[in-house]
């Protein structure tokens, strides 16, 4: 059995309750929700509404109808950025963003939207003061601040609880990419002043791939990116004004959403604190184990700083992709190597072009898995030093 340590990409395996929900809903209720009015379709519609409520409760979202289901966090981010920003707007982001944020911003920049990327320090941290300064810089206040809560490269956690309420006071939209933090760190859209929250359902929330959502604060009305059937207002040639239907086109994946609900319930029943404690203990074990190996450089926050669910490192004179290949092929250990779809972040921490090796344990990994990784790293490094000698 492989040791899977790439949970920052997607969590695997899922809890049994998620598989059960997928199976049961797939067999009994994989019906198009919000379309027909026969009993099964209504039941599917009720189930989808319950999932909306579950998401809303988990993030303290006051109105479930402001939760728009998407295929992933990337779609949610694109819906918000392309749907709301207009030429002449100024947007503040950071140099730690995943391509899900940085690529849409790059395109928007070519369409007359001004983008300012606040630099992170070498551990991947961005200060709230630097964001505030950028927002008011140049005499024209920014329209939006958009950043990732937790870096998928370094695990650095950005101070959204400081930035959000300040943005709200200033009338600046605050958007958080919670792809790496949802299901790991507490997120309260009201107390944190979050106007737009984009998250994947298949990472920390433990749902299946193909799930995600965008939360939009009351009053925001983005232009849709895709147009089509919504289950209501069928006679109208236009998309409805109301959320979530305005931004949800085509048939929703009822069974995947049932899986997402089961995932969130699992997280809720175990508690974020316990989940984080488990992952932190594994990362601490990894940190100290790696620190004893020759030529290892660990990137990201120090052990005394708060960190998300992953650890990135590199080896002097070694190509991360080769080490990753050896771990996989010879030892059945799955970790991520390279740039992790976030080249700006690697530029910030000085790991371009090779990138890093990233280890992201999940809820079902154990100390024995980390021990196995450390033993294997030791063997690989010994073998390499023998060969080079």
């Amino acid at each position: 059995m492989a040791i899977y340590l790439d949970n920052a990409a997607t969590t695997f395996p899922k809890p049994e309750s998620v598989y059960h929900a997928l199976d049961q809903t797939g067999r009994q209720l994989a019906i198009s929700p919000g379309r027909g009015s026969y009993s099964l379709a209504l039941e599917a519609g009720r189930l989808v509404y319950e999932v909306r409520e579950t998401v809303a409760e988990f993030f303290n979202i006051p109105d479930p109808s402001r939760v728009v289901f998407t295929a992933n966090a990337t779609e949610a981010i694109n819906l918000a950025l392309f749907g709301l920003l207009r030429p002449g707007d100024r947007v503040i982001s950071t140099t730690m963003e995943h391509n899900a944020v940085s690529r849409p911003l790059q395109v928007l920049e070519s369409r007359g939207i001004e983008i300012e990327r606040v630099p992170a320090n070498t551990t991947g941290q961005v200060s709230a003061a630097a964001i505030r300064e950028a927002v008011t810089n140049g005499g024209k206040i920014a329209r939006m601040v958009v950043l990732s809560h937790c870096s998928n490269v370094t695990g650095s956690i950005q101070p959204i609880e400081e930035i959000g309420p300040w943005c709200r006071q200033q009338g600046v939209l605050f958007m958080v990419d919670a792809a790496q933090s949802a299901g790991l760190l507490p997120i309260d859209v009201q107390s944190m002043g979050i106007d737009l929250l984009a998250a994947a359902g298949h990472k920390g929330l433990l749902g299946p791939a193909g799930t995600g959502f965008l939360y939009l604060v009351e009053g925001l009305q983005p232009t849709p990116l895709i147009y089509g059937g919504t289950g209501g207002n069928s006679a109208s040639p236009l998309m409805p004004e109301e959320l979530p239907e305005r931004l949800e086109y085509g048939t929703l994946n009822t069974q995947a959403l049932a899986g997402l609900q089961a995932g969130i319930e699992f997280v809720r029943s175990h508690g974020l604190e316990q989940i984080r404690r488990h992952k932190s203990a594994l990362l601490e074990q990894l940190f100290f184990g790696l620190s004893r190996l020759p030529g290892i450089r660990i990137h990201g926050p120090s052990q005394v700083q708060p960190q998300g669910g992953l650890l990135s490192f590199s080896l002097a004179g070694q190509d991360p992709s080769e080490i990753g290949f050896l771990l996989d092929v010879e030892h059945d250990i799955c970790i991520r190597t390279g740039l992790h779809c976030a080249p700006d972040a690697h530029r910030s921490i000085g790991t371009l072009p090779a990138g890093t090796l990233r280890v992201s344990p999940g809820l079902f990994n154990t100390a024995a898995d980390i021990d196995a990784l450390l033993r294997t790293m030791d063997r690989i490094l010994c073998a390499k030093s023998t060969i080079s000698a």
Partner: protein, 90 residues
Amino acid sequence: MIADGDRIVLFNSPTRVMKAEKLLRKAGLVCQLIPAPRQVAECCALALRFAATEQTAIFNELAAANLTPRRLYGKHQGLLSALELTSENE
């Protein structure tokens, strides 16, 4: 599907009608989701049906949740007609 003395309300989205049904059932009020009749289905394919005698309680519950329906219809002598959106109608 709709009998004399019944009321139906339409909302502006399928999600809102689901929300309304859940809220009303939780409050112990009797209502049922039905396909919106063809002549009134312009805003949502689903309607929420209830007895006219429940109208006040249902409208109060919906108002408390800031869930105002978009249309209200009543059936009288076999004819469905639009009614004013208030908690009581003659």
